[in-house]
Symmetry: C2
Subunit: 459 residues, 2 copies
């Protein structure tokens, strides 16, 4: 029997996890694996780029979990700097183009994995393509930005456009490199996946460490010097001088190929899959990572959430299924975490805005406590906001802003959301307590107790 052929499009987390897992389950004589990757890198941590740019991580190589050579040694036929330009679903084949030589060819497949990732948002503003304006989506982006930073004139002023996770992390990174940093966001506060009251605490934390935060501001243009180099970022009401501009405006699913091939996409533009990560309606096509929609277990809706941790899980599930095993990805609860200077930030479940969009009625409970026992050295403030559904008391979401050790507590809520716990059930959780780790009532429990009171009052 001739070997089956698996073709993987995309050589980062989802694609190469799928390929590696399939390879573990099936030998090369059973399953041939060909993987296409546009860039020069495989299996790298895009989430680590801000820390490399900021200097916490010395070399970009540190971000690479597995090199092309390591993948090849494991029996994966990896085609680097090669882009798949067409997908012929009926003919079970893909057309690829080597980016350097321009050579094109068709490759047939028995099974296909789409792991094309996401595309950074880049609005069509005047001056957006000026030298000195950078995205930070890939290692190549990071290198270009570091080059720009090195060449930046003496003032070293950076403007970060966008207040999401990447924007906030990049603002800190540029600060760490000695830049004077302004972050410009259209939201009422950075971190729009938090409610504004919690987002304001992030603003305060950024300002405390010397980052200027401009909110409610729409960027209208990038101004350039005579040399063509970036000079400033203009909003509808002001201009912010910039020697370097970093764009952190989020990403959209990179699904042009899938769309052209007629594969099913959700309203976000992400591919629709079933629980086994198989593209709906297509027996032999799987998809995972930043190009798919995921089921939000709290709202029951499919959403687009680009995160490396999901991509890795998708890859494992796809690899198991492609390799003749079995795996499913049940969904997400919307957990995310970051830090800015000494302040940690995390969220899971639904924010107030999201809960309203779902037609859910809820109470909120916001409490202030400390990350460790109040009397223990290093105690810092920690704020927990909790949403619970009226009547049912079901936990809907949690947001945390606080000092060291605060934010990873969001995992308590992530598990509780997965188990569909009520806040009343949460008040009895047997969470770890010792003075160097927590108050005797963990702040998450304090929030749950307050939510129970609020529910009682709301009726």
């Amino acid at each position: 029997m001739a070997a089956e052929r698996l073709v993987v499009i995309g050589g980062d987390a989802a694609g190469m996890s799928a390929a590696s897992q399939a390879r573990r389950l099936k030998k090369p004589e059973e399953l041939e694996i060909i993987a296409f990757e546009r860039s020069g890198f495989t299996s790298y941590s895009a989430c680590g780029i801000p820390y490399w740019v900021g200097g916490d991580v010395p070399r970009h190589e540190d971000l690479i979990a597995r090199t092309p050579e390591e993948h090849r040694e494991r029996g994966i036929d990896l085609r680097m700097r090669t882009e798949v330009t067409e997908l012929d679903v009926a003919g079970r084949r893909v057309r690829s183009r080597e980016l350097v030589s321009g050579a094109e060819e068709w490759t047939s497949y028995d099974k296909l994995v789409l792991a094309t990732g996401a595309l950074p948002v880049r609005p069509a503003l005047p001056g957006i393509d000026a030298p000195g304006v950078h995205g930070v989506h890939t290692i190549d982006d990071g290198r270009a930005l570091l080059d720009s930073m090195e060449r930046a004139p003496g003032e070293r002023r950076a403007v970060v456009v966008g207040g999401g996770y990447i924007g906030v992390e990049m603002a800190e990174a540029m600060l760490g490199r000695g830049f004077e940093v302004t972050l410009v966001t259209r939201g009422a506060a950075p971190m729009h996946s938090l409610d504004p009251d919690m987002g304001h605490r992030v603003t305060e934390a950024m300002e405390r460490c010397g980052i200027r935060v401009v909110t409610d501001a729409e960027v209208t243009a990038v101004r350039t010097r005579e040399s063509g180099q970036v000079r400033a970022v203009a909003t509808d009401s002001a201009e912010y001088p910039a020697d370097v501009v970093v764009l952190g405006l989020g990403v959209t699913p990179r699904t042009a190929l899938a769309r052209a091939a007629g594969l099913p996409l959700g309203s976000s533009g992400g591919l629709r899959t079933d629980g086994s990560m198989r593209v709906r309606g297509h027996e032999d096509i799987w998809a995972g990572g930043d190009c798919v929609e995921v089921l939000d277990l709290v709202s029951g809706r499919h959403r687009f959430i680009a995160l490396g941790t999901h991509a890795n899980k998708h890859g494992q599930v796809i690899g198991a299924n492609v390799g003749g095993g079995y795996g499913t990805f049940p969904g997400v609860v919307g957990t995310a975490i970051t830090k800015v200077c000494d302040t940690e930030v995390a969220r899971t479940g639904l924010s107030e805005r999201e809960a309203r969009e779902e037609g859910l009625q809820y109470v909120t409970a916001t409490i202030e406590s400390t990350n460790v026992a109040g009397y223990y050295p290093g105690a810092t403030l920690m704020t927990v906001k909790m949403l619970a559904e009226r009547r049912s008391g079901r936990l809907l979401g949690v947001q945390i802003v606080g000092g060291a050790g605060s934010a990873k507590r969001i995992d308590i809520a992530a598990v509780a959301l997965t188990a569909r716990m009520t806040v009343d059930q949460m008040t009895a959780l047997d969470l770890a307590y010792a003075p160097p780790f927590s108050s005797v009532w963990d702040p998450v429990l304090v929030a749950a107790r307050k939510a129970v009171s609020k529910l009682r009052a709301a009726g």
Copy 2:
């Protein structure tokens, strides 16, 4: 209508939480509250004593959440330095004795709360009462120990007897005060609530920071100088010079009063209560804190677990019920946490020994990972051991030993145990990931994945 009278025996976490919560729900004209406390302190953090002795917490006052005066201001008739010596259940009254004057009196009650706490284990060894030998159960104990430490001769050698949480914490505390510290435990490793393979990592961590750890050793005597002062701790095979000795041999429920009154005790000697914390068979008597047994939700057994976090929860539940509201304490999963020097230690659920005692068959998965992304500054090793039941795949327990940020992850497992998750379900948990907080696969997820493989192999 005359006010009902609530009598509370014990003025620490459980007792005063119950009294305070009841007071919140009922005014003094509805409910009179009388509380008896043997010591001179109320509502203090016994768990904080090692950090006060070690110097991390400057004053013992810092450990006190609420003073007697503050309780009195809230309408609680608090009798300090007054011991309850007899409980007359049929007559609904208690006999108390003022410790200073020796005056005795009977006080009647309508409702009674027993919060008598625990008694430190103090074996009847020769020399155990010598000056320089100290328990660390109360603030008075801590003061006496600090006095001894100040008077200790130049060599400043301390022996800590017992390798539980308190023993380990006290060893670090004495080290912090410049003592040469030896910890003597009868177990194969300190922290006998961990499996020995994980306990050995604690031994190594202690030795790395300069604590001598003597295992498998039974203390037979305390040797004294001519002055009567402690000189050494003797085991069956050796003698360890000591200027100060700290006893950390665990505690037993302080239930002599309840036993004499015929109240139901479990095999551990702790009081048996129902879910509302009412003493079984007694309509108007509640009990909570270190004098009761709690339901272990993982094994289904009642166990004695002395922990401030449970005591506080019990107090809230009792206060709600006594005050005419409603609350229950569903049980615990056996979560505990501590640190020694730079190493964090935590556990929840069942250890291998405990699982065997329950007749459970299980697989174990032990993995090494890092507390933060491997490439992120400050990455340190973190070991996770996971137990899962054969066939059902249900999570049974987790143990963690690792660097900063490792141990509080035990809460993930605590919630998963409460929700009776399988390790397979756990592999899909949406845990927070960003490089400063975790690898892309949180170590708990890596352990869950390995447990799934082990289950498959075990059949």
